[in-house]
């Protein structure tokens, strides 16, 4: 996974609460076994006026002019802004693959659903929460014009073009892995001995969780 230190990009605002993963990546696109190439299908039911499927050429489909992310001023955006409970619903990692392949590097929201939040970091997307009043301010500023933000993971800071900035919190474990582009499994395997020691003790105290389950 590529390291993430800082990112400057345009913001695309999605002023909705409870944006669910079914909306982000409808089920007809879950039939692909690969992990990339989902960008054209992200937010499919909202993004297009006609029905789509994996074998439908997206260039022939009609885009919904009312959908936020289709507006000309938000083309090329790499920072997605939303509200409470972003990514609720299904655990499908395809939802994250879709927004990543659409070009988003950062998602900012008031809160995230747990599984989606973890899936973001596992795929190199920085998901960060800001206070409701800060989110409100970003929506105000990005409502009708392109707005640039700089997200600095090193400093844990979001800076607006006018110099205004907001600090954000992130667990050090996640931050360290993102900053250094570390592989999750490889990082955990550095604790191989601790895992083996725990397992040995766990097996003694709870042997019934270790009975060969066949």
């Amino acid at each position: 996974m590529a390291a993430f230190v800082a990112h400057q990009g345009w913001v695309a605002p999605m002023d909705r609460s409870n944006v669910d993963t079914d909306a982000m990546m409808p089920k007809q696109y879950l039939k692909c076994i690969f992990k990339s190439g989902y960008g054209d299908w992200a937010f499919d039911d909202w993004r297009y006026l006609d029905a789509g499927d994996v074998d439908v050429d997206v260039s022939t489909r009609r885009k919904n002019p009312d959908f936020e992310l289709n507006k000309t001023i938000y083309q090329g955006a790499s920072i997605l802004l939303s509200r409470e409970n972003f990514g609720c619903g299904s655990s499908r990692e395809h939802a994250v693959w879709g927004i990543r392949d659409m070009g988003f590097k950062v998602v900012i929201a008031t809160s995230f659903a747990d599984i989606f939040y973890n899936n973001c970091f596992n795929n190199g997307i920085l998901a960060l929460t800001l206070k409701p009043e800060q989110i409100e301010r970003l929506f105000e500023l990005s409502g009708d014009k392109a707005m640039s933000l700089t997200v600095n993971l090193q400093e844990k800071r979001v800076t607006l073009a006018n110099g205004e900035f907001y600090s954000f919190e992130l667990e050090e474990n996640r931050r360290f892995k993102m900053l250094n582009g570390l592989d999750n499994v490889a990082t955990t395997l550095l604790k191989k001995q601790a895992i083996q020691d725990f397992e040995k003790q766990h097996k003694q105290t709870h042997p019934y969780y270790f009975t060969p389950l066949r």
Partner: protein, 468 residues
């Protein structure tokens, strides 16, 4: 120090503390299914890694499989066969237990894991499926993950987890006749919002929970994720122990006795402190049905489609307006006047034997209304066998329901089947998101008995009118 049930489960699985509120937890059980399992297993191999403890990993064919009688690997999903066959191949190569299409124990992961005794009180269990929280009903710490985390768990038997807050939902009073666990959880979400449990592990407690059967408790915990909770759990009691005992994968002999000693301590200490608490008096609840496009858009079957709340949060206004439009409903419309096109009983929420018995009790001697497509999909082969031994299949079929093979089925048009463009469905499932059950299909979530009553009436109906 007084501990909550969640605190105890967390402490007993903590391999290492990585920083404040972030730990490396040991995972006792991993469950996969053919939609995300195939991706996780193949990705693991591609990364040059192996399943660390194959005997702790299970897989069931449930998400993509066709549910018509006489099914094969073929599904209406063009690449469904590929998923099924690659999962089969990868499972065999990894040496993990696969409940294949024709296995006598095949079924929906969250139905078969409890009925086989794979999930047990006090264990940790993960699955790349958001409704894994169902299994917390037996006092396990069970939660859903993505494919990458399933891969991590298979390779290391651990996961890095941010510690959620402790929340208790106290359900008190006496549950009225005709009110089910599904009504309870829909009411909770409607009252406190789809993000009401965000960042929390929720313990369901109180005399109402104690009175529920294990299968009803599974329904309650199943929808903790729709409340945005990390998981849901219930302290195991004699009902849980009786339920587990004798199951194929349950501890036997001396190990059963050892397990019982540990399990008996799995409860929240009297003085334990919760970060949040909610108390709901359930004595006067009516059956609950969803009207919109989020589980929080729900109300009593006796109510009218609600107006947008005056104190609505930013961002929710658009969701409400969109919900009215998508569902083709307007505020003030009586819920029990809404005409339906289809009825579905199934899913990891409500497809267990008690669900089918309760629905059949309403359907017996009655017929599904003209023009209503009705489908019942048992949650597992074991449930199907029990139902057929009791003659429930005949009741469903005579009433006009399709009687199917086990699988996730129409919960999210798995297997490629759907209810059709803009059809209105009353469903015992867990999500009423846009397009979930078909193209622009309009889903109303309800209990199996409300689904059965509505199928007969041809409109959303109060099941209490049909109870003998």
């Amino acid at each position: 120090m007084a501990l909550t049930l969640f605190d105890k489960l967390w402490a007993d699985h903590e391999v290492a503390i990585l920083e404040d509120n972030v730990s490396l937890l040991y995972i006792d059980r991993i469950f996969l299914h053919e939609r995300t399992g195939s991706i996780a297993l193949e990705s693991l191999v591609a990364d040059g890694r192996m399943v660390r403890n194959p005997e702790k990993v299970f897989c069931s064919m449930d998400h993509i499989v066709d549910t018509h009688v006489g099914r094969t690997d073929e599904t209406l999903v063009p690449s469904g066969k590929q998923f099924i066959q690659s999962t089969r191949k990868a499972s065999h190569a990894a040496g993990i237990k696969l409940f294949d299409i024709n296995d006598p124990w095949q079924g929906i992961v969250h139905v078969i894991s409890p009925e086989l005794g794979i999930v047990q009180p006090g264990c940790t269990l993960i699955c790349p499926d958001s409704h894994t929280c169902s299994q917390g009903a037996l006092g396990a710490l069970a939660w859903g993950v993505g494919s990458s985390e399933a891969e991590h768990a298979m390779a290391t038997n651990t996961l890095v987890v941010k510690r959620p807050k402790n929340m208790r939902v106290n359900l008190v009073g006496q549950l009225p006749v005709g009110i089910t666990a599904k009504d309870l959880v829909l009411h909770l979400i409607a009252q406190y919002g789809a993000a009401g449990g965000s960042g929390c592990a929720i313990e369901f407690a109180g005399e109402v929970v104690e009175a529920l059967s294990i299968e009803a408790r599974l329904t309650l915990c199943n929808m903790a994720v729709e409340f945005s909770a990390f998981t849901g759990l219930i302290a195991p009691d004699h009902k849980a122990f009786d339920y587990i005992q004798g199951k194929p994968y349950a501890p036997k002999g001396k190990q059963w006795e050892e397990a019982m000693v540990y399990w008996a301590g799995l409860y929240t200490d009297a003085d334990a402190v919760f970060d949040k608490q909610i108390t709901i008096d359930c004595s006067h609840l009516a059956p609950v049905v969803s009207w919109g496009t989020s589980p929080q858009h729900a109300c009593s079957v006796l109510d009218k489609v609600p107006n947008m709340p005056t104190n609505i949060e930013a961002g929710d206004e658009a969701s409400y307006l969109r919900a009215y439009e998508y569902m083709d409903l307007h505020p003030g419309q009586a819920i029990d006047s809404i005409v339906i096109d289809a009825a579905f009983i199934g899913s990891c929420t409500n497809s267990r034997i008690t669900d089918l018995r309760e629905a059949a009790a309403i359907l017996v001697g009655r017929k599904v209304a003209n023009g209503v497509k009705a489908i019942c999909v048992p949650g597992s082969k074991a449930v199907k066998r029990m139902a057929e031994a009791e003659g429930l299949d005949k009741i469903f079929i005579q009433a006009g329901f399709d009687w199917r093979e086990p699988g996730c089925s129409m919960c999210f048009f798995a297997g490629g089947e759907n209810f059709g463009f803009r059809k209105r469905v009353i469903s015992s499932t867990n999500r009423n998101f846009e397009g979930r059950q078909g193209p622009e299909t309009r889903t109303h979530l309800a209990s199996p008995i409300t689904v059965a009553a509505s199928a007969i009436a041809g409109r959303i109906a109060d099941p209490r009118e049909y109870l003998l």
